[in-house]
């Protein structure tokens, strides 16, 4: 801030008054219009349909969606599965993100690219890969039979395990990316300082790196959880009937039973439940970190 000569020209506030505008707010208009008609309007329509009964406003769709019965079971099953998948993504992804963040920037880019490339391949194709790996005559079964570990093929497709393995694989790059970007902002000289002051690397990791990267892990958890809630393709293709998720149920309501009201109510419940869980986790995290004194560390 002290190099006064350059300040008036490059400084933020100084020249604002007299500089010619480069872009007007109107440039936002097309995006706003598209957004309004193709995002806000459809979501609003879902909300509207969900409260429409036979005769005017009614909560009957929500009663059907939340009352005891198969829908509630599927809702809890979806929340449970998404919770587990998000936790697995963090546990599996954290060491990988840590490794990436500790590489020198040069080969970091290539490794990151390798991690992120699968993100751009269709989820359909990625799920198809798991059918090849886990199928009756797939890679794992033919290997197990080849070494004589099992007599006949194991049933791996159409199980809960298959859904976990495939969903974590689809979401893992997202989790790694979020955690990695937080880790790169951590000032490494803090770790160096702890070493000089006599702390072991492990102590330095637990007391410095872990707390500073926890925020990124929580963000990654919330993002993967919300994304998992809406999963549709993977559970339908590699899961059994027990792994039906809310999204699959909504699709059935819309395409087969044509009960649009119930489908809409299920959708609203999914969104609200998702935000509720994410909000609760965010609150909990703030409280816990606030107590242990790491909040606001930057």
């Amino acid at each position: 801030m002290s190099d006064g000569v350059a300040m008036p020209r490059d400084g933020k506030g100084a020249a604002r008054g007299r500089r010619a505008p480069l872009s007007s707010l109107w440039l936002l208009a097309p995006a706003a219009v598209l957004f309004l008609f193709v995002f806000i309007l459809p979501v609003g329509e879902v909300a509207l349909w969900s409260v429409q009964g036979e005769a005017g406003l009614s909560a009957e769709n929500y009663e059907a969606a939340l009352g005891a019965g198969p829908y509630r079971t599927i809702l809890f099953g979806t929340l449970q599965l998404s919770f587990g998948v998000a936790c697995a993504c963090i546990l599996v992804g954290y060491p990988a993100a840590y490794f990436l963040a500790s590489r020198p920037p040069r080969n970091r880019t290539l490794l990151l690219l390798l991690i992120l490339t699968p993100l751009w391949v269709s989820v359909l194709v990625r799920t198809f890969g798991w059918i090849v790996v886990l199928g009756r005559e797939g890679l794992v079964n033919s290997m197990l039979i080849g070494i004589g570990a099992v007599d006949g093929p194991l049933q791996m497709l159409y199980t809960r395990g298959a859904v976990y393995v495939a969903m974590v694989q689809v979401l893992l790059p997202v989790a790694i990316l979020v955690m990695f970007s937080t880790m790169t902002t951590i000032n490494r000289s803090l770790l160096m300082a702890s070493r000089i002051l006599g702390a072991s690397p492990w102590r330095g990791f637990v007391h410095i790196f872990l707390p500073l990267s926890a925020g990124g892990a929580v963000n990654a958890w919330m993002l993967t959880f919300v994304l998992a809630l809406g999963f549709f393709i993977t559970p339908a293709l590699v899961g059994g009937p027990k792994e039906t998720m809310i999204a699959n149920l909504i699709a059935t309501q819309i395409t087969l039973t044509l009960d649009w009201g119930l489908g809409s109510a299920l959708g609203m419940v999914l969104v609200v439940a998702g935000f509720a869980v994410v909000g609760a986790i965010a609150l909990l995290f703030r409280r816990v970190t606030g107590l242990s004194g790491h909040g606001g560390s930057r």
């Binding site: 010619a20 490339t117 890969g129 090849v132």
Partner: protein, 267 residues
Amino acid sequence: MKRSLWEKSGRYLLPVYFVGVLLYLLLPLLLVIPMSISETRYLKFPPQGFTFRWYQEFFASAGWIDATLRSLLIAAASAALATAIGTAAALVLSREGSKAARAAGPVFLGPQVVPVIILALGTLLVFSRFGLYGSLWGVALVHAVLALPFVTTTVSGALRQTGDTLARAARVLGARPHEAFWHVTLPTIRPAVISAGVFAFFISFDELVIALFVMGQNETLPMRIWADMRHDLTPVVAAVATLLIVVTFAAVFMSDLIQRRAQRRAG
């Protein structure tokens, strides 16, 4: 003892673990490729023999080709729209300290946070109200909204990096705002705009759920793959999947190359 174990794990254990994660992410994809040239009609590992039959079947089938062309058209329209609109929005959003930018930024992330199934359902409700069911242009609009957050973040990132000093100089020297944009700003952010366009294309090209809800008889490529995977699971799917993997990988590495070359020139 403890120290050396930690240090050792940093040196050997972590790289090995990382390779394991990479294999987990990439191996199932790469295994699809040998399946597409296997002679067996059902999926069997290891692949048997060698044949291009499944590729021939793909190119000879009107159903598959129509679906592919439809998807290409939708993706091209959607990517063009999302890139144009998103770049325009990024010009405003990248201006630090502007109130509009701070308010609009998070709003545009909405489509990424709300499960796609909700948007698919809402789109169906809106389309059926306005008679747009099965409309290619309609679904291209929805895909453009999905891609919009990606375009705005990529392009405004590039805009922030290059700064607006040059564009401002052009304005001072008498260029009109659109001239300053075309001749000064756009050339510096072109790599980012291109890569945003490429990814917007793939977001649409791979999108299944919304298309499944609103396209009906006008099958797109993902819808066709989905139907095949649910019912017969023929090796043609493996052939299509292989083509998709090759094209996607090529596009990702190409757009990375473009960006990196631009960075090298700038730095």
